[in-house]
Symmetry: C2
Subunit: 333 residues, 2 copies
Amino acid sequence: MHPMTRMNRRITLAQRPSGMPDDTTFGTDLVEVPTLGDGEALVEVTWLSIDPTIRGWMAYDTYLPAIEIGAPIRSGGLGTVVESRNDRYPEGSTVFGMLGWQQYVVASRGLRVLPEGVPPEAALSVFGTTGLTAYFGLLDVGRPNEGDTVLVSGAAGATGSIVGQIARIKGCRVVGIAGSDDKCAWLTDELGFDAAINYRTDGVRRAIRAACPDGVDIFYDNVGGPILEAAIANLALRGRIVLCGAISQYNDAAPSPGPANLGLLISQRGRMEGFIILDYMGRAHEATADLAAWVASGQIQYRTDVTEGLESAPDALLRLFTGANTGKMMVRL
Amino acid sequence: MHPMTRMNRRITLAQRPSGMPDDTTFGTDLVEVPTLGDGEALVEVTWLSIDPTIRGWMAYDTYLPAIEIGAPIRSGGLGTVVESRNDRYPEGSTVFGMLGWQQYVVASRGLRVLPEGVPPEAALSVFGTTGLTAYFGLLDVGRPNEGDTVLVSGAAGATGSIVGQIARIKGCRVVGIAGSDDKCAWLTDELGFDAAINYRTDGVRRAIRAACPDGVDIFYDNVGGPILEAAIANLALRGRIVLCGAISQYNDAAPSPGPANLGLLISQRGRMEGFIILDYMGRAHEATADLAAWVASGQIQYRTDVTEGLESAPDALLRLFTGANTGKMMVRL
């Protein structure tokens, strides 16, 4: 039987953004889905994970090569295997992988079959790279001790909100920085943060000092820029700064100056360390086991912010940079 | 017998410097040496160790409280015990400690008796806090592996020159950054550095790339500022930045912006860590044993830059900041 010809709508990279991505950044096209070769599976994309790191991939080589012009925007996602010539990806199964901003993808590797019963929202947030990023960044890079004061920026975001809850579970005092009073209230009233700082209305440096009178033992930074400098100014002796992201700077057309107070890393014997979650994929099961137990017991809550339809993906990405989202940003196709 | 009244000439902190210290920064006075109490020793200062960190102590609280206005400038040094009511510090012995810019000091603690036969120049440089700073900063914070590329700034300075030689002993490729062709020649021709960069004539970022084509595994930084940014731009995967000092910034009247490329610490999984040598004093014997063996075998050479007389101490300090010195800056009284 001759396979039915399917068409694949894609959102592609039209040109590399300088500053905030806009209409000129993205293109759309419609291409034919190729016939499956041996070992390949055809996946219909059902959900997209919208992450700040996509902004970097669009612009330049980072820990992954830049997305090529004309290629679909690289993005994690979930999909259903609709046709398969690969035993590892049976028809009907739900798979996770770098599916991209498109309706269909043909893949022979790099997919993970999702266990039954995991809701898509959980698979892409707390049990996805977001949860792993929170878990390994805090525990492996930050190395919290009971009683430590942990400060988190982007605390109402997908990663930050989980970081704070894990820190609480580990017996730390947790202070979050977020961009609205509503987000701050969510952190303290629902997630159990000990304090929250609205960086849009509070003088951040002074607010950190007030909320962390003994200094910051761990700063888990998703934001960079002036908030990083304010945290360094309040670093405790032997404080650790976990560099997870710098969302405040991803849309800068030119590089912004760094913190003027790095000298405090010397006098405070501070450590600042970056990490990339891809390095931890071989240890994902450690995190997933803990996270599943904590979600089941109610010790970890998560929120998702879902937009509808492939064509909403660019707007979903921009919501991350304006701070419009609370929790994990996703697109349902 | 009534003790002879001795007078003590001191160079004091007249006012905190903003920018480069000058005539208004320092004062002199002449005070009476007090009669010794029980447990005290009178030390005649013979040598002063002139270190960049003194600039910080003059200005503000760091890892030690700021020097008080009117007090002698805090400084390590060597002296001879001329009178003693403390069995640990016998008359005639040579002691090391925070003696300060003055002729005499009365102390009951905090001194270390120097073993016989150690030349004062070695005691204050390779076997002093300078050598310990090089040793523990490189080995304990930087953690070199054989074959690593180690980049050192302030490489012709007291600490940097020893860092590079230890790195060579540990099987690393060593590149130094210094401020003159003469200094660079000393590094490569006499100390065995694999390459040297004159930051005053070379484009530092490009010169590092040329000298470290596989990237920088360890950057031992004594300088800060644009050189730190240039090193970050060339950081290898999992590169480590040892923050020892930031001499380029100590005389800034206002804080200078930090490196604009800290995001590379994320994509490169980099670590930047500061340390203070005082924390390692309990392990000094480890370093001293190794350093003594390396000096004896000729694997480590050191140079000193000596000025004469207490009154030369302010100029000696300024030589550090203009880069006039090669090797360890000291004053002989």
